[in-house]
């Protein structure tokens, strides 16, 4: 069973307490954007076999959204971090690099 550390309430939460929220750090597009931008934002997904940055909600706990970095090929969790950021913080990136040198994710790596 997947266990994620909730960065808000500090609980190591079992998967049954959590709700998956899909790919993280999507760039939002609003009125006036092109069809292509909307398509990418709404439907285009990285869907990597490897390092995945994603959103989770501690649904049956404190109720807060947070981020996790996880490997979709092994289910290894590299770390969790605040929802209030648009990219993973330095220590998360380092934790990923230590295990998966050369990983990349869209524009940042």
């Amino acid at each position: 069973m997947l266990i994620l550390h909730c960065p808000y309430c500090g609980v190591d939460a079992d998967e049954t307490e959590l709700a998956a929220g899909g790919e993280a750090h999507l760039k939002r597009f609003g009125p006036g954007s092109s069809d292509e931008e909307f398509e990418g934002y709404l439907f285009g997904r990285e869907n990597p076999r490897g390092v995945h940055l994603e959103r989770w909600r501690h649904a049956h706990g404190c109720g807060k959204w947070f981020h996790a970095a996880r490997c979709t090929a092994t289910l290894e969790v590299f770390g969790t971090y605040s929802a209030q950021v648009t990219e993973p913080p330095a220590e998360i990136r380092e934790a990923i690099t230590a295990k998966r040198p050369g990983w990349s994710w869209r524009e940042f790596s």
């Binding site: 069973m1 997947l2 998967e15 049954t16 709700a19 998956a20 899909g22 790919e23 069809d35 292509e36 909307f38 398509e39 990418g40 709404l42 439907f43 285009g44 997904r45 990285e46 869907n47 990597p48 076999r49 995945h52 994603e54 996880r70 979709t72 090929a73 092994t74 289910l75």
Partner: protein
């Protein structure tokens, strides 16, 4: 190809079964093919079959990283039905269902198609309205379905508890010509027929790169070397995102785990397929007597072909409520497959940003039933370079144009 028949069985019986040939050849790859298909699941193999049968294109290779049928085609719970809501879905799934009716004869291979009837239970008022609407849509589409009463449900499936405390059965959408087939046999039957047409089925050969030149496909790099081609079809289900990335484009797809399980074999007790979408579970009985059980997908992106235990628990809990007699059954096996989910829960049969690369994916939790229809439509797309009527609505451009084929409202657990 040696034909299978009662006479062949008798002949072989007389010579101690020493005369059977291999069902398909295992050749080394040639330098170049007219068409390369990546993925020897049902959809890839059916595409190859109809390229040969309908379009006379036989210089074809089907390249598979594992063994044929080892992906979702050999992992599914084999439900076949065509009672979808939207017209483009009904057209392609009904084409497929009708091809299943004669598949054993067409392929000279027993795929054990069993049109035993599929029933989708309505257990909320919302579902009653939804399924009545689908039944009306189906009659306009020429797909034979009907909305039946709880009494008829009980008559068709006596082991069901229709007065359950949480979700009593209020009726069901019934498709009498839906059913099941043997999944491995579908892959094997197509493989044998393709091999007999001179096509190469190359197993244990992983595609690791796609070579393009000036926006045009040139060939693929594989664990057995470089192979050239004029046209390329990507038919790899859960791995579509990965393979599309090799060709430099992104897909509106996420890969999730979907699990299934079977029980110990018991005496025949259920001769229809029952799906209960509100409580998230479905069940049928295999010819061996095992109860074949499945439910909804797990929640997060996953390539491990393993699922989370609590999803199984949820499915079993729902089914024990619906079928109290299974409460003491022992489960024999449980497994997972990686399913390719699109935003509107409909498949993609499409041209791609690279000239002469075509993709067939997004069948998600429900593509076994579609195999022959999908192969038929995909072969036409690959042969002509443009989609025919069956594939036309399923292009990638629908996501840009907001022209969805929304089946997600129609079925919570869409198998």
């Amino acid at each position: 190809m040696q034909r299978y028949s009662v006479f062949a069985v008798a002949r072989e019986a007389l010579r101690f079964h020493k005369g059977w040939e291999r069902a398909w050849a295992s050749p080394e790859p040639k330098k170049k093919y007219d068409v390369i298909i990546i993925g020897a699941g049902g959809h890839g193999l059916a595409t190859a079959y109809y390229l040969g049968m309908n379009h006379g294109i036989r210089n074809v290779a089907v390249i598979e990283k594992g063994w044929l049928g080892g992906g979702n085609t050999g992992r599914n719970t084999t439900i076949i039905r065509s009672n979808y809501l939207q017209d483009p879905s009904a057209a392609i799934y009904e084409k497929a269902r009708s091809l299943y009716e004669t598949m054993s004869q067409d392929l000279n291979y027993n795929v054990m198609f069993s049109p035993r009837g599929v029933m989708m239970l309505a257990q909320t008022e919302h579902e009653v309205r939804g399924y009545k609407r689908t039944a009306h849509a189906n009659s306009l589409q020429g797909v034979s379905t009907e909305f039946i009463t709880p009494e008829r449900v009980k008559e068709l499936c006596p082991i069901m508890e229709i007065r359950g405390p949480r979700y009593p059965v209020l009726g069901a959408l019934w498709q009498a010509r839906g059913g099941t087939a043997r999944h491995d046999a579908v892959a094997w039957g197509y493989a044998r027929a393709c091999s007999a047409m001179g096509m190469d089925i190359i197993q244990k050969c992983e595609v690791t790169g796609i070579r393009t030149e000036g926006g045009q496909v040139k060939g693929v790099s594989t664990s057995k070397g470089e192979i050239d081609c004029d046209k390329l079809a990507i038919v790899v289900a859960g791995h579509s995102g990965q393979v599309a990335e090799m060709a430099g484009f992104r897909l509106p797809i996420e890969s999730l785990a979907l699990q299934a399980l079977v029980s110990e074999p018991i005496k025949p007790c259920m001769d229809v397929v029952v799906m209960a979408n509100t409580v998230h579970g479905y069940m049928s009985q295999s010819d061996k007597g095992e109860m074949v059980i499945g439910g909804g997908t797990d929640g997060f992106n996953n390539y491990t072909q393993r699922g989370s235990f609590h999803h199984i628990e949820e499915t079993v809990r729902a089914l024990v409520e619906t079928f109290p007699i299974i409460s003491r059954l022992k489960m024999l096996r449980q497994w997972g497959g990686i399913v390719d989910m699109t935003g509107d829960r409909s498949p993609i049969l499409s041209k791609t940003p690279v000239h002469n690369i075509f993709i067939n994916c997004g069948w998600g939790t429900g593509g076994f039933k579609a195999i022959p229809g999908s192969g038929w439509a995909m072969a036409e797309l690959v042969a002509k370079g443009e989609p025919g009527p069956l594939a036309a609505e399923f292009g990638l451009n629908r996501f840009r144009e907001g022209r969805f084929i929304d089946e997600s409202v129609a079925a919570g657990v869409a198998h």
